[in-house]
């Protein structure tokens, strides 16, 4: 079988767990198919970081560090990835499921005449024909999707495969962009980034509030709990629509889809669209005054009660636990 190429996305020069997860996935397919897995990094990543990819079983590590590629241009990134896929004879190109892969993977698929399946949630059910499983209707069903083209492009849903170490002697090889970077047609003119905050998409624990919080002024204890747990804060759609919290915190079908280990829903009734955005969480805790609220059908643990009365003793109990361990 043809080789497996994994695009290893970096964030400010560092790889995240989702990148390593995509690597492990690609390495496992390569093992099953009896071929090799190659990692491709684009942008400025130090050798000391690149070599971390060898912990997860790749045969080779390619790096394309061109100053014109320090910010994302979808056309340029797609050109680099598809060229490498062609020159290496890749049969499958693997991405992690991120904003960047949403931007770039479809373009790569066109360049390679390859069918694309985004957000695959497990290993292929079969390699020939190539069938993968993914969630559709935001988790209301699973679908087996067959890719019929010779070359395949897939992205791996976050936290769906896990990371396992498997160290190799992979060496780092520098490659050139192989195209005219002066033809890049987008320019990044400003970057605004909050620092020190736990990012919603990376968070292992998410603490989320809904309309039952009653007022944007009531978020203090929720933020305190989040800080204690090293969690990201989130909210339901009515809360972001009211402007109580920023849109970037909206979790649900039309907002962010999250898959943390632990999701707290405070004062969230659990509309079908909200549950669709959080149903991949390992554990869901719901606190709501209405014992009939649909969120309790999605939750693993629940408390019927007012969030403002439940949060203070909850914070105390977490503090006590943290002081003991």
């Amino acid at each position: 079988m043809n080789k497996i190429l994994i695009y290893t996305e970096n964030f400010d020069g560092k790889f995240k767990k989702s990148t390593f997860e995509a690597v492990c996935y690609g390495v496992e397919i390569a093992r099953q198919a009896g071929t090799e897995a190659i990692a491709l990094s684009i942008g400025d990543v130090a050798e000391s970081e690149l070599i971390n990819l060898s912990k997860y079983g790749v045969a080779r590590i390619l790096t394309c560090n061109n100053p014109m590629l320090s910010t994302l241009d979808n056309q340029a990134y797609a050109a680099v990835i598809s060229q490498v896929a062609k020159s290496e004879g890749a049969g499958i190109v693997v991405f992690s499921a991120s904003n960047t892969s949403k931007a770039v993977a479809p373009r790569v698929s066109v360049k390679l005449n390859a069918g694309l399946v985004f957000s695959v949630s497990g290993l292929p059910k079969s390699l020939n024909p190539f069938v993968v499983v993914k969630k559709v209707f935001h988790g209301k069903a699973f679908a087996d999707v067959m890719i019929k083209s010779d070359v395949k492009v897939i992205s791996i849903a976050q936290n769906s495969f896990g990371v396992r170490e498997n160290t190799t002697e992979a060496v780092i090889e520098s490659i050139s962009a192989g195209f005219d970077t002066s033809a890049i047609k987008t320019k990044v003119t400003n970057v605004e980034k909050s620092t020190g905050k736990v990012l919603l998409n990376d968070a292992e624990v998410v603490v989320s509030g809904g309309r039952g919080m009653k007022s944007p002024d009531n978020w203090k204890p929720l933020e305190e709990l989040a800080e204690l747990l090293g969690a990201a804060t989130a909210c339901s759609r009515p809360v972001s629509d009211e402007g109580w919290r920023p849109h970037s915190e909206h979790v649900g079908q039309t907002g962010k889809i999250v898959a943390p280990n632990l999701y707290f829903a405070f004062g969230i009734s659990g509309a079908i669209q909200h549950v669709a955005g959080v149903s991949s969480s390992k554990f869901i805790v719901a606190v709501n005054t209405d014992k009939e609220a649909p969120i309790f059908q999605a939750a693993d643990y629940g408390i019927v009660g007012d969030v403002q009365k439940v949060l203070p003793p909850l914070i105390e109990a977490v503090k006590k636990l943290k002081s003991e361990v």
């Binding site: 904003n99 066109v110 969630k135 209707f137 970057v191 605004e192 439940v310």
Partner: protein
């Protein structure tokens, strides 16, 4: 300036998903069809941009790939305020096929800005907008939560981990948009609905193209175990369960 919005016809997001008896398809009988939520926000933003006369936007066009059943949805886009509509008359089997049809339909139309939603709320493919931009050989910016026109320049905000970047693409370009692009989708007015009947809706026959992916089987999600309830007067027990039973904190 001319703006195109690509519209996907999807089941209402509150739809309970049922599978057919053999699990080979989703049972779409009696489903209420809507404009894909992100496409609807994109249309709303395009109309806001057009209403600002400083922007000199001549035309807002909507396009969908679908059978006659998709017509009420594209008519709704006209009722909301699009000037004209195109429907490519074929079953939208996968993103590749849809992008191929749209690329063919608009390649000589010279749209300056093409807006696509970041995914469709049914099959969550996240692929069509990116494929379309590559087929048209246009620059694209994805995860766009804001779009402004300043003279001949377009500025967009792209979400990145922990914040956003302001990106200036050269025109024409494709913006793949997400939540935040417009505050709330517009609802058609009675006047809008009346006017929509007079607006041009062009039906194009498809070009020959194959889908590269196909759904072969579906499964319902695994049933969830019952929720374990903790008394509101004994909140500490919840922490105890999360620590000892779930081993998650």
């Amino acid at each position: 300036m001319k703006i195109l919005i690509c519209i996907s016809n999807v089941p209402d997001t509150t739809t309970k998903i049922k599978l057919t008896g053999d699990n080979k398809a989703v049972d779409l009988a009696n489903v209420q069809w809507i404009i894909n939520p992100w496409d609807e926000l994109a249309l709303t933003r395009a109309l806001e941009l057009k209403e600002n006369t400083a922007n000199a936007i001549d035309k807002v066009t909507v396009i969908t790939v679908g059978n006659a059943g998709a017509e009420p949805t594209i008519r709704k886009a006209l009722a909301i305020g699009a000037d004209n509509a195109i429907r490519v008359n074929t079953d939208p089997k996968d993103a590749w096929l849809v992008a191929t049809q749209i690329a063919n339909a608009v390649k000589s139309e010279n749209f300056d800005i093409i807006l696509c939603g970041i995914e469709s709320s049914d099959y969550n493919g996240s692929a069509m907008g990116g494929m379309l931009s590559e087929m048209l050989d246009l620059p694209s910016v994805s995860s766009v939560s804001k779009i402004e026109i300043e003279g001949a320049k377009v500025k967009v905000n792209r979400e990145i981990a922990g914040g956003f970047e302001t990106v200036e693409p050269s025109l024409p370009f494709v913006a793949i948009v997400q939540k935040g692009i417009a505050k709330e989708p517009r609802i058609p007015s009675m006047r809008g609905i009346m006017m929509a009947r007079q607006k041009p809706l062009t039906v194009l026959e498809p070009v020959a193209a194959d889908a590269l992916t196909g759904f072969v089987n579906y499964e319902p999600p695994m049933p969830k175990a019952a929720c374990k309830m903790v008394d509101a007067d004994n909140v500490a027990q919840l922490v105890d369960l999360l620590h000892h039973e779930a081993k998650i904190i």
